[in-house]
């Protein structure tokens, strides 16, 4: 079977890709997709640790991932509503141009 560290490295790579997209892209929707990828990387970690734990019958990792998916769905709904509200106000989804709060 694949060792635990391979899953952890894969999860770290997905997290880094999501982080790179969230930090460098201009479009707010792509930033949100990057955040979703980062959340998914964390979920993969939870499942991998659960599979390799000493007491998998406790189901802790599975429960954590189920609640995490629920929170991610709520976060996506609110985030996209915010993006639509910003688009209506500024007529853009470019995060560089939405800078009214910049000091």
């Amino acid at each position: 079977m694949t060792p635990l560290s391979a899953y952890l490295i894969l999860s770290a790579m997905i997290f880094a890709i999501g982080l790179a997209g969230a930090l460098t892209r201009r479009n707010a929707i792509i930033v949100l997709i990057g955040i979703e990828l980062m959340l998914n990387a964390a979920n993969l970690n939870f499942i991998a640790f659960w599979r390799f734990s000493e007491h998998p019958e406790a189901l802790t990792g599975i429960m954590f991932v189920i609640f995490s998916i629920g929170i991610a769905a709520a976060e996506a709904a609110v985030g996209l509503a915010l993006i639509i509200a910003i688009y209506r106000h500024y007529k853009t989804t470019n995060v560089d141009e939405v800078n009214s709060l910049r000091g």
């Binding site: 997209g21 930090l23 599975i62 429960m63 991610a72």
Partner: protein, 165 residues
């Protein structure tokens, strides 16, 4: 490392990179669906069937559709001619390289490579349902409340403002 894991890992990484780097937003959303599907297959490979199918149902079924709707509502379907990356992209790349370096170094020096998987784990839907209704009933109620509040909040935020006269 087994061959299925390598295939799934390469597919997931390629889809994630495509989702973060393509120019057309619709293509980005479709690549994101590929990445979520690859992750669902990895969950199935790790004997977490319920979570794998929940991933397909929630992410590919709901979140991806929501994102496509948002792209259409913000007229993101057209390909932008201007620069794709924000003005401070170099800092983003530096932070990402630092984060990945730290994570990889920590994993390499941890005890993770010596762990052995538990033999034949069972996580049936019945067991998960039992656990959700007994030990985890309070978090379940809280997540229900959170989802309700978030959805009402999303509707109120996205609602068109009344024109004041």
């Amino acid at each position: 490392m087994t061959l299925p894991f390598i295939i799934l890992a390469v597919l997931t990484i390629a889809a994630a990179v495509a989702a973060m780097s393509l120019r057309n937003l619709i293509h980005c959303a479709l690549a994101m669906v590929g990445a979520f599907g690859g992750l669902a297959a990895l969950y199935l490979q790790l004997d977490a069937q319920f979570v794998g199918f929940t991933q397909i149902l929630v992410y590919i079924g709901a979140v991806a559709i929501l994102i496509v709707f948002a792209i259409l509502l913000t007229r993101g379907g057209q390909v932008p001619e201007k620069a794709l990356f924000s003005s401070s992209w170099i800092w983003g790349v530096l932070v990402t390289v630092a984060v990945f370096g730290t994570l990889a170094w920590t994993i390499k020096n941890s005890f993770a490579s010596q762990r052995v998987p538990a033999e034949r784990v069972e996580a049936t839907v019945k067991e998960i349902g039992d656990a959700l209704m007994t030990k985890f009933v309070l978090p379940l109620e809280v997540i229900g409340l959170l989802l309700t509040a978030a959805l009402i909040g999303a509707v109120i935020i996205a609602m068109r403002d009344e024109v004041k006269k």
